[in-house]
Amino acid sequence: MSEAIEPVIDVEGLREEGVDLALAEQVAPDRDISVKVGDALVEVKNLTMKFGGLTALDDVTFDIKRGEILGLIGPNGAGKTTCFNAMTGVYKPSSGKVLLEGQSLGGLAQHKITRRGLARTFQNIRLFGEMTALENVVVGLDARHRTSVGGALLRLPTHVREEKSSIERGMALLEFVGIADHAHFLSRHLPYGHQRRLEIARALATDPKLLCLDEPAAGFNPAEKEELMTLIRTIRDDGYTVLLIEHDMKLVMGVTDRIVVLEFGKKIADDVPKVIREDPKVVAAYLGEPEDDLA
């Protein structure tokens, strides 16, 4: 990390979305990122993932630029989630690599990849059910903590400092995603929509350089989807880079800066939403999908 660049907070954008700026400041990314806004933060290079005879990802290459919301779309089974899993170390890619700030993530343990700066949510919610909402978020915050087992055992100063700050930042994150008044509920008792938001807060808590969201609006009604897209835009304006998987074409078009389209594990398009909408290959891929998925 040579020349560190301050996180860029889009104050105008935040104001437009009616976000408390003090809160946004508290939640904003806390780390130096060595690439400039608009340069490639993450590079996915020739990523191939085979399961036995099935090629779920076939030589997929794309960049994610710092400060953008990149949409990753494609029909069911196209390989979107597999792409996330290969990026975050859940699967070991058959070939190809993933670079974060120019450094390869290949072979790193999953928790190390998270610490490097890739955080994600899950398509099927995977919260820690017996923990409260706040505790779930603090688990994410722990990814950046330094307390050792001995330090916790004896309540050394680092531990005390980190525990205190994690309550503050944890509550700020919950407020940011709009569920602060539910901080004390076990996460499995939260309403479904709140669980999805809590997943986002927990991922943000790890202070990611790239936030990967896997169908965060699945199971939502149109109004809730709209609200969630506003939240995602706010997250970007706060200085985060977002990779978004979403099924609903109309929504993706509205919120993303750029879209990568997968079909049968292959990348078939990579462009701004306007061009994607007109792309005959994309339209063909989505043929047979329900009408309302088409833009």
């Binding site: 989630t81 996330f84 899993n85 975050t88 699967y91 343990a109 928790h111 998270t114 955080a119 994600r120 899950f122 398509q123 099927n124 995977r126 919260l127 820690f128 059910g129 017996e130 923990m131 409260t132 706040l134 505790e135 603090v138 688990v139 994410g140 722990d142 990814a143 950046r144 307390t147 087992v149 916790a152 055992l153 004896l154 309540r155 531990h159 980190e162 525990e163 205190k164 994690s166 309550i167 509550m171 008044d181 539910h182 901080a183 004390h184 509920f185 076990l186 008792h189 939260l190 309403p191 479904y192 929509g193 709140h194 991922a203 790890t206 699945a218 199971g219 939502f220 009604n221 809730e224």
Partner: protein, 407 residues
């Protein structure tokens, strides 16, 4: 290889499943000690300390009080019974770290208990040809040796999950016992007599810590338990406790959220083992005689039974469970022969009617969470809209059943 995203549950199916889960939860809530834990958490700090002080004082006085009905006499000496109960309680606290917090099913915990016992006896018994050290020094040594074994067992096996781990630990429990039989230095069934004890004599010049006098051993073990509890509480309300519970809840998700799961599992094993070793050393001293007959797999299962009875994950429950498992056969001597049958039946009944144990309290995982939580409970907004809620800081509120119906 883990499957991080299986097939997506249809939202409606998910909602249905949730409704079922919550219903069963609602049923389970109407228990004997209903809301004891929540009521406790709602108390102000000073009051909690006051109550604790009273409880601790009563606990220390137990050998003297010898309450009729509660006592194990005339069948069994009451202070000796207490000494044994306290040792079982300590074992349960240690095993609870492994099973209750980190969710690792360890069926061979007796091995660490044995390691502690043998460490203490081989370093103090006149039957042993090795160096001899004062008994009290064997306590930390036993902890260190057991911890070493915990790490040695943990590193190769903790990559296994669930059933596989249980089977490997079961094997380990047997290995220690068999080693004690076949290694000449460990003296098989002959064992070690006259294991050491802490120093000190009373006014008439007799040693205070006699094998026949349970009270001092009970007080010593009780003090150890209190220290261990305080330390375990510190761990619980730290990133360590959160990491363990996260692993127990969803190991893959924990790893992806940045928890070094393997490291924390080894820590759970190591710390659990060291408490096991400590209780083994206390046991060896109190009984005064150690041989290979005392550490069979059934004892392991009994330990596990103590944790599960008390309430997996709850350290206070573990103490009660451990004490109960030792107490019942001593109190009801007529049925002592059938203790395994009785505990087996008790376990089945508990699992059916109270799957979270007698004291189903939840761990508190934040060192400074109370203020935040109390803020909510005082405002009285503890029901999530359209959902039944359990407010952690205070009252428990039953609301309408509905969740995830947005789909």
């Amino acid at each position: 290889m883990s499957t991080t995203d299986g097939p997506t549950l249809l939202p409606s199916a998910g909602a249905q499943q949730d409704a079922v889960d919550r219903e069963s939860l609602g049923k389970q809530k109407k228990g004997w000690f209903n809301g004891l834990g929540t009521r406790w958490n709602g108390l102000p700090r000073q009051k909690q300390w006051l109550y604790l002080l009273v409880i601790v004082a009563v606990a220390y006085l137990l050998p003297i009080l010898n309450i009729p009905g509660l006592t194990t006499e005339p069948g069994n000496n009451w202070p000796l019974a207490l000494a044994q109960m306290s040792i079982y309680a300590l074992v349960a606290v240690g095993l609870n770290i492994v099973v209750g917090y980190a969710g690792l099913l360890d069926l061979g915990y007796v091995a660490f208990f044995a390691v502690g016992s043998y460490t203490a006896s081989m370093l103090t018994s006149p039957d042993s040809p090795y160096v001899h050290i004062p008994y009290l020094w064997t306590l930390p040594v036993a902890m260190a040796v057991a911890m070493f074994f915990g790490v040695m067992l943990g590193i190769p096996t903790l990559r296994l999950r669930g059933d596989y781990l249980a089977i490997v630990t079961l094997g380990f429990g047997e290995i220690v016992r068999i080693l004690a039989t076949i290694i000449p230095a460990m003296k098989g069934q002959v064992g070690f007599q006259n294991v050491g004890h802490p120093p000190g004599t009373d006014s008439s010049g007799n040693a205070i810590f006699l094998n026949s006098n349970g009270a001092p051993w009970y007080w010593l073990t009780l003090t150890v338990i209190i220290v261990v509890l305080l330390l375990a509480g510190n761990l619980e309300r730290s990133r360590v406790g959160r990491a363990w519970i996260a692993i127990r809840e969803d190991e893959d998700a924990a790893e992806i959220m940045g928890v070094p799961t393997f490291k924390y599992k080894v820590w759970a094993f190591a710390l659990g083992a060291s408490v096991g070793g400590l209780s083994g050393a206390l046991f060896a001293g109190q009984v005064g005689f150690v041989n290979n007959q005392k550490f069979d797999v059934v004892t392991s299962v009994l330990f596990l039974c103590a944790v599960v009875l008390g309430g997996t994950g709850n350290k206070v429950g573990a103490i009660v469970g451990g004490a109960l498992v030792a107490y019942i056969p001593l109190r009801f001597t007529a049925i002592a022969e059938y203790k395994y049958l009785i505990f087996g039946i008790a376990l089945v009944i508990i699992m059916i009617f109270r799957p979270a144990g007698i004291f189903p309290a939840r761990q508190r995982l934040l060192a400074y969470g109370t203020q935040v939580y109390n803020k909510f409970t005082h405002r009285g907004s503890d029901t999530p809209p359209g959902g039944q809620g359990e407010a952690v800081g205070g009252a428990h509120v039953a609301g309408a059943e509905e969740k995830g119906a947005q789909a």
